[in-house]
């Protein structure tokens, strides 16, 4: 029965601010081991949508369930890893090494009064190795490059051993070859570790060959379960506001 219960179940979701519909009647389900890309124009509501999923913003109407529970009743937040948009823009003088940041991922898992356990140590090291930042473990976070910092943020999210990883534009300002490698890492986590992955991106070209499902968000949502067909579907081009063939061609350049 493992697949009967979706991780996220969103029904008729609205988010309205000052009479302006930011999200209109959005419904979808996210299942275990999904690999989902969310695309859409700037200001389309992608970040808002995942902030609602994470309980950081309250929906105006509609229903959101996480692992079958309403957000306010949900307690097992360690099952969800989140890397926010612009997470890599940390204050340069914040006193944290790579290791310090990744350890934060274990904070909510520890019991009160308990010190760092052997498991904590192993998980932190494992997360750093998976994201290929282990060699940077004693470096100050403020001295790392944008791409390195982004991988550290992902390692922090991984350290709590989440079942789902949600990333908001993890690759802004990262060069193309690093991006490629980053998506390979994500895909590996998805296939080998069975971690559900949801990420927002603007670089469909980099990932188009590989994503399992594609959500296009521009106020409304269009869910495509077969992205290869979806990239040419009319609905989506309407939402994205550009000619779908452009996206399609862009994909073939890579």
């Amino acid at each position: 029965m493992k697949f009967s219960l979706p991780i996220f179940d969103v029904k008729n979701l609205y988010f309205i601010v000052d009479d302006q519909e930011i999200l209109r009647n959005v419904s979808f389900e996210i299942f275990a081991q999904d690999y989902i890309a969310i695309i859409g124009p700037n200001g389309g509501g992608k970040t808002t949508l995942i902030r609602i999923l994470l309980g950081l913003e309250k929906e105006t109407k509609g229903e959101v369930r996480i692992f079958g529970k309403k957000i306010k009743d949900f307690k097992e937040w360690h099952k969800i890893g989140y890397v926010p948009q612009r997470a890599s823009h940390v204050d340069a003088s914040f006193p944290a090494t790579t290791q310090d940041v990744v350890k934060m991922g274990r904070t909510s898992k520890r019991k009160l009064f308990s010190k760092e356990s052997q498991e904590d140590k192993l998980r932190v090291e494992d997360a750093m190795r998976k994201m290929d930042v282990y060699h940077l473990k004693d470096k100050m976070i403020g001295t790392l490059s944008g791409g390195q910092r982004q991988r550290v943020m992902c390692a922090r999210a991984l350290a709590s051993r989440p079942e789902i990883l949600i990333l908001d534009e993890p690759n802004t300002g990262v060069d193309v070859s690093s991006q490629q490698r980053f998506y390979e890492l994500l895909r590996e986590l998805n296939k080998k570790e069975k971690i559900t992955i949801v990420f927002i991106t603007h670089d469909i070209g980099v990932i188009a060959d590989d994503i399992a499902r594609l959500f296009t968000i521009n106020q409304k949502a269009v869910i495509c379960n077969n992205p290869k067909e979806a990239l040419s579907c009319e609905d989506m081009s309407d939402l994205y506001g550009i000619d779908a063939h452009l996206i399609h061609n862009h994909k073939h350049e890579h």
Partner: protein, 265 residues
């Protein structure tokens, strides 16, 4: 033994000073990293209202300072969250408001005297046995809370929203931290004085940050600076008959300038 320790009042003052240095620097680290340094300055002025009430009404000023500081801390947090007011504006209102109220109470009660002066700028002569016991008991409680929740406070300072989505009770812990800070500040006014305690909370951490180290080391450096400056400040206060708060802040300022220059890029 050194001459300075032959006096019992100096032994008390030193003990109280060490406890306060420890508490102020550790809690100060979290406060500074959350970019909330002004809270310490503001609560120090609120504590003064407690002192004023204590002096005029004949209650223990230290206890009154603790109570009033905690109440203001809660009120400030409540206003910040419930009315989404600008934090620094709320703090400014509380800072001058508290001072005004304290001055009025003291003037009406006719308690403008040397004793008040010592609460403003600290005094090594002022620490009684009862004070020392109060500082010790509250100190243990505050230190325990700080150490138990150090990781949570650190995570919240780093990224409040991510901390929240990892299941950390951010609001509850923020309330807890300001409560602890309120208590520590109230305890400190004997030795450091309410006009100067803000410096002891903030400057050791800011100095430690100049060395660009990880969390544990930064905390440790800050603690070392605080203890060193309290010890040297008190010694100076003893030999030169100056208010201890002023000499302590002067020492920490010297450390700050050295740290700044030594780490200049």
């Amino acid at each position: 033994m050194l001459e300075i320790f032959e006096y019992e009042f100096m032994q008390r003052a030193f003990l109280a000073g060490m406890i306060i240095a420890t508490l102020a620097s550790i809690s100060g680290t979290f406060v500074v990293l959350r970019r909330y340094s002004m809270i310490s300055e503001t609560l120090a002025h609120s504590a003064l209202v407690g002192v004023a009430v204590g002096l005029v009404a004949g209650f223990n000023p230290l206890w009154m300072a603790v109570i009033i500081a905690i109440l203001s801390a809660w009120l400030i947090e409540y206003l910040r969250y419930s009315f989404s007011l600008y934090s620094d504006a709320v703090l400014a209102i509380f800072l001058s408001g508290s001072l005004a109220i304290a001055v009025i109470i003291v003037s009406l009660g006719g308690a403008f005297n040397n004793s008040l002066f010592s609460y403003l700028f600290g005094s090594i002569l002022a620490v009684s046995d009862a004070d020392l016991i109060t500082i010790f008991i509250f100190g243990i409680v505050c230190l325990s809370v700080l150490l138990i929740f150090a990781k949570e406070f650190y995570f919240i300072a780093y990224d409040e929203e991510v901390a929240k989505t990892s299941g950390i009770r951010v609001r509850l812990l923020s309330f807890l931290l300001v409560t602890i800070v309120a208590i520590i500040i109230a305890l400190s006014i004997r030795v450091v004085g309410s006009l100067l305690i803000g410096a002891l909370m903030v400057i050791p951490t800011v100095s430690a940050l100049q060395y660009r180290q990880g969390f544990a080391k930064t905390l440790f450096i800050s603690l070392f600076f605080a203890i060193f400056s309290v010890a040297s400040g008190m010694t100076l206060s003893f030999y030169m008959s100056l208010p201890s708060g002023a000499t302590i802040v002067l020492s920490i300022l010297v450390i700050f300038i050295i740290s700044l220059v030594a780490n200049k890029r």
